[in-house]
Amino acid sequence: MWTWFHKLASPPHVYRIAGLLVPWFGWVGGVLIAVGVVWGLRFAPADYQQGDGFRILYVHAPSAWMSMFTYVVMALAAGIGLIWRMKVAHAVAASCAPIGAAFTASALVTGALWGQRMWGTWWVWDARLTSELILLFLYFGYIALRSAYDDQQRADRASAILALVGVVNIPIIHYSVVWWNTLHQAASVTKLARPSIAPEMLIPLILMFFGFNIVFGAVLLTRLRGEVLLRERNADWIRALVAQP
């Protein structure tokens, strides 16, 4: 029963499987995002208060969600790597960091654009924005710590601990909306019972959410393949792989 789990720990196997999965994730996610973008930008009704300006939501909200989700994936992978000494898990964590930083930056930039239109300012020191900025700093710290070590194994394990410590920040970000209720509107989609957003607006948003998640999978697997190649560059199976016509 555990063979699949053990296979996951084997770099050549992971490299091959990831290669097979990337096109599937890429295409499905890409199509979802394409449909979501066209639907959201062209066909969804304009907001009665914000007009067409609200449409940046279709990039902003999924980016913000992914910035946190990626951190959780990174911390989980780091934890697995730390506990079971699984090299591939550390490679996953390492691959997550730049993607997560990119999502966080995207959430901040789209948020600034949106804020400029709606609040008349690029930046406010609201709790949610600030926590998102702190999240970006956490990603930077993680990447910096990882690159400060020459020894791969130490870099893996030290940065894994940092990721686990930093994951404490994720709930703070999430509940900051409740704690310090300032300019930023409270979450309107994650209220599971009855979303306070019109269904015509919600469907493209859901498509975008799934699209972002699946494309994240594709990017992560691609980076993972690169990371595995880099780490195993002296292994026999890579020599065999390169020697293949």
Binding site: L82, T130, I134, F137, L138, F140, G141, A144, L145, A148, Y149, D151, R154, R157, A158, I161, L162, L164, V165, G166, V168, N169, I172
Partner: protein, 228 residues
Amino acid sequence: MSARTGILRGAALLIERDLRLAFRRPSQLGNPLVFFLVVTTLFPLSLSPLPSQLRDIAPGVLWVAALLSSLLALEALLKADAEDGTLEQMVLSGQPVVMLVAAKTVAHWLVGGLPLVIISPLAGLSLGVTPQALWVTAEGLLMGTLTLSFLGSVGAALTIGVRRSSVLLSLLVLPLAMPLLIFGARATDLAIAGESATGPLNLLGALLVFTATLAPFAAGAAVRIGVE
């Protein structure tokens, strides 16, 4: 096996050793304090000497200065012992690493954080903080600096094997210390305005309990990686 030193006895011995080492070099001991006072002096010079304005910025200045000066001293927490091999011997001694890190952190706080709390009213007075708020600030800093020492012990342990780690250490620890800054400055702010600062102080206490119970485990794991 002969009788082993108990955990608490070991911790006490370690704290005693670290304190003794620190007091052998009194000049280094005073440096963070002087830094704290100098930084708090910079703000009136750069912003405005008006008492009303100073009182407005006082909470932020006091807390940022305290945060930075404790951060400055953090590198010394484990570095020297790691470099001459003492830390490795401590890990090999059979005492739990978690206790070891916690004891070293407490010792570090006793020589670095506590004096800062004690002189904080001096810096506060120069910024025109009211006596009632001075007390609240000292209370907040008492919990805040200890929390920061525990948080910082994780960062210091993670950067044991890194050369010239002080900037990296700040990058790792400062984002995690933001809640401290928020609640601490808020407490001082409320006290200056004459309101009850119980809420933020309670939150600071909660952060202290949370950090003090969890951080030594993370720092202990990091030390094990660092001395390998």
